[in-house]
């Protein structure tokens, strides 16, 4: 099977090239079919790869394509590497991509940039798949940037809109902040370990596991982990770099579904999970990851509560759910994080596609205050949206329940010092999630229409859009069962080999350490002790008792139901008045409505100082000092020349006098200085 791995990224790449070069004049509207067929082919290969991997417990597929940078000891190969984790990601990415491609055919049907859209989408799919398949940090970084580029291109897809351009630039710039960290992390990794390869006895992971024996301090490991995490913060929209994601909703809705909900934003989570052997070596880095994740999930949920823009609510919900994944990573619940990543990809993709369908039927209206009663007009959209909302709210037995619960239980049971805190925050956020999700559902689909039925005629979307909704609703509802029973389902067993390599590598580390024993017994003994201490503090997947799991299941079900019930009381029966509560807790309400003032804070304390500094560099340093120097030199020479040119009179007599005087002076010097004639 490994000989066909290259097909997975190649097919979308081919579709991209064809649509980009020939889309405008030759293939035109057939560009959608080209992209869909390519993506479907990619999905088929991914499924085959998955079954191949599933065949045995520790099977890994690898295909070496070529060596990208051969330079002495620094070699960067382009090698595709599929283990269980990558295989899950491949399935998620290709499945959601294929469905979104189909949906886009309907959604973008009347758009002038149709072929351009279907060129960018496969480019994104190609980059994302390469990111997943990369076997070294540098290759991952390259495609990490490539998905960022696609994100930029697609957010600014309607480039005639000023707001879309600004959102695209914001996304790009905020991501750069994270990527600087990521880049520095890679450099530090190479500087420390002398390689960027993940796997093998000389790879980063093996070396990270026995870093103590290699003389690498724990502080360096923490620094590497935190720098890489900064990159993950940017891409996965974690506080403080989350501000770009809500604005990214300026892009077409299929883009929001595919890139800004299901796949690209999970790249950060994937990256941290991929490099977990590094994180395992640094307790403090994990604490930071957990805290950031927990805080982000809470922060985003509170903002989502008070937004009126349908897509913005779902965008903040995405940030919140990514926060769950990140705190699961930070508390060592790796499998739970990936599980939530997968279920989230399906139900959040579905939510966005549903929102797109609503927009389509409502003539691009996004304000939920101008909706209502859409249930009758668009039944398919309503039912699929409802299923996705149940999943997002974490109601049993929908997909989100199983994965979210596992993340919370994983955090609670972990050895990590902030695990309990993260779990409690996760539960509070779960209540908020159910509340804002059903606020959305009730405001959009229930009660009497708040728009003018004479002017707007909402209608169900066509088959191109409806079919993907229905197909996506199946995994959104049911895929949680692959993780059943909790902690012990087929999904967990499938992923086990990836996250249980750490102890094996530590054994390897001890072996390697013992080789040095002959030469330096004293120092190495401390090194071994340190390595063993590191092993002892590692946070393993702790298998929790059934009682805990069931308890948490019941608690989170109660929380989800009560959240939905509060939303029902508020937005259906009107027992609770949202405006009254808003007025009662005005400062808090203002804080949430203004997104915790983060945009303003960034604008005032980061953007404006930088802007002023740039203006200073331009107005003063560049214009005055640099240009001033250059122009000053020219002006000086000009002024001197202006005076000098009067010497050139054009009168023959003056020149002749000059010649004569010169002669007299030269002869005079000769006579005075060297001749003996007058001495």
């Amino acid at each position: 099977m490994e000989h066909y791995l290259f097909l997975i990224p190649l097919l979308p790449l081919v579709a991209f090239v064809i649509n980009l070069l020939l889309g405008r004049w030759v293939v035109k509207h057939a560009s959608a079919y080209i992209a869909q067929v390519a993506m479907f082919g990619s999905w088929v290969v991914s499924v085959l790869v998955f079954f191949d991997i599933r065949g045995s417990s520790d099977k890994v597929l690898e295909q070496h394509l070529f060596t990208w940078i051969p330079s002495g000891t620094f070699n960067v190969p382009v090698t595709l590497h599929v283990d269980q984790l990558a295989s899950i990601m491949l399935l998620v990415v290709t499945t959601v991509s294929t469905l979104v491609f189909v949906y886009s055919k309907g959604y973008m049907a009347h758009d002038g940039g149709f072929y351009r859209f279907f060129a960018y989408l496969p480019l994104f799919a190609f980059s994302m798949l390469m990111l997943v398949l990369a076997n070294n940090l540098l290759l991952l970084y390259v495609f990490w940037e490539a998905v960022g580029l696609c994100s930029y291109l697609l957010i600014g897809f309607w480039f005639r809109r000023r707001s879309a351009n600004e959102a695209a630039v914001k996304a790009f710039v905020v991501n750069r902040v994270g990527d600087v960290g990521f880049g520095l992390g890679i450099m530090l990794t190479f500087w420390t370990f002398g390689t960027v390869d993940f796997y093998g006895p000389d790879g980063i992971f093996a070396k990270a596991a026995n870093h103590a024996a290699l003389g690498v301090s724990g502080g360096t490991m923490t620094a590497i982990a935190l720098l890489l995490f900064l990159g993950a913060c940017g891409k996965s929209a974690q506080f403080p770099l989350h501000v770009w994601l809500p604005d990214a909703m300026e892009g077409p809705t299929p883009v929001s579904a595919l890139i800004h909900a299901a796949t690209m934003v999970t790249a950060g989570v994937y990256m941290v999970a991929r490099t977990h052997p590094i994180y395992l070596q640094s307790e403090s880095a994990l604490v930071v990851v957990a805290l950031i994740g927990a805080f982000t999930s809470f922060l985003a949920a509170t903002i989502a509560l008070v937004q009126y823009d349908l897509k913005k609510v779902i965008a903040y919900s995405t940030i919140s759910q990514l926060g769950y994944m990140v705190f699961a990573l930070g508390t060592g619940a790796w499998v739970a994080a990936i599980f939530h990543l997968m279920t989230h990809a399906f139900f959040k993709g579905l939510l966005f596609l549903g929102a797109g369908s609503v927009m389509h039927g409502m003539h691009d209206e996004l304000d939920m205050r101008k909706m209502g009663g859409l249930r009758k007009f668009m039944p398919i959209t309503f039912w699929t949206f409802l299923i996705a909302s149940f999943a997002n709210a974490g109601l049993i037995p929908f997909a989100g329940f199983w994965s979210k619960d596992e993340a919370i239980v994983g955090a609670w049971a972990s050895a990590s010092s902030v695990g309990k805190l993260a779990a409690v925050v996760g539960l509070i956020t779960a209540f908020l999630t159910a509340l804002y999700m059903f606020r959305c559902v009730f405001m959009t689909f229930f009660k009497a229409p708040r728009f003018n039925p004479e002017a707007i005629h909402p209608h169900e979307s066509g088959a191109w859009m409806a079919v993907p909704l229905v197909i996506l609703a199946v995994p959104a509802a049911l895929i949680g069962f692959i993780g059943f029973p909790p902690e012990n389902g087929p999904f967990q067993h499938f992923l086990e080999p990836v996250f249980e390599q750490a102890p094996a590598q530590t054994t390897h580390a001890n072996e390697q350490a013992s080789l040095y024993t002959i030469q330096e017994p004293a120092t190495t003994r401390t090194a071994i002790a340190a390595a063993q201490a590191a092993t002892a503090t590692e946070t393993h997947e702790t298998h929790v008792s059934t009682a805990t799991t069931v308890t948490f299941g019941i608690i989170s079900t109660i929380i989800a139901v009560s959240g939905i019930f509060v939303a029902y009381l508020t937005y259906i029966t009107g027992t609770i008045s949202a405006t009254a509560i808003g007025a009662r807790f005005a400062p808090l309400y203002q804080l949430f409505v203004n997104k915790w003032y983060l945009d303003e804070i960034y604008h005032n304390y980061i953007t404006m100082p930088f802007y002023n500094f740039a203006m200073f560099l331009w107005r003063i340093v560049d214009v005055k000092i640099i240009d001033g120097t250059v122009n000053g030199v020219a002006a000086l020479i000009g002024a001197i020349s202006q005076r000098m040119r009067t010497v050139q009179t054009g009168l023959l007599a003056n020149y002749a006098l000059g010649i004569a005087l010169g002669m007299v002076i030269i002869v005079g010097i000769y006579l005075a200085g060297f001749s003996t004639l007058f001495r």
Binding site: Q648, T649, G650, L651, A653, A660
Partner: protein
């Protein structure tokens, strides 16, 4: 008056040279300037001959023969240029000849 030494010829040469130089410097008529240049060249020739006689060699005299030949050629070219200029500008005043300056 005693013997005519080389100094006397040199004084004559110097006086002729200064007269020629002054002519070049103060006169405006191109033809006069040209004649003054010839005068300066003659002054040089005199000093050359004087040195040749004084040192009892023929080098000076031989040099003068060449100088006179070159001067003849130069005179032909110089007069030709002056003639052409006077035809073109209807004048031989050097102060009026500044077309290369502006």
């Amino acid at each position: 008056m005693g013997h005519l030494g080389v100094e006397h010829y040199l004084f004559l040469s110097a006086i002729l040279f200064i007269i020629g130089l002054m002519g070049v410097l103060v006169r405006r008529n191109l033809l006069i300037i040209f004649m003054c240049v010839e005068l300066m060249m003659t002054a040089v020739n005199i000093s050359l001959v004087a040195f040749g006689t004084a040192t009892d060699t023929l080098n000076g005299q031989a040099f003068v023969v060449f100088t006179v030949a070159v001067a003849a050629a130069e005179a032909a070219v110089g007069l030709g240029i002056i003639l052409a200029l006077s035809r073109r500008g209807k004048t031989v005043d050097v102060d009026d000849m500044h077309s290369l300056r502006d």
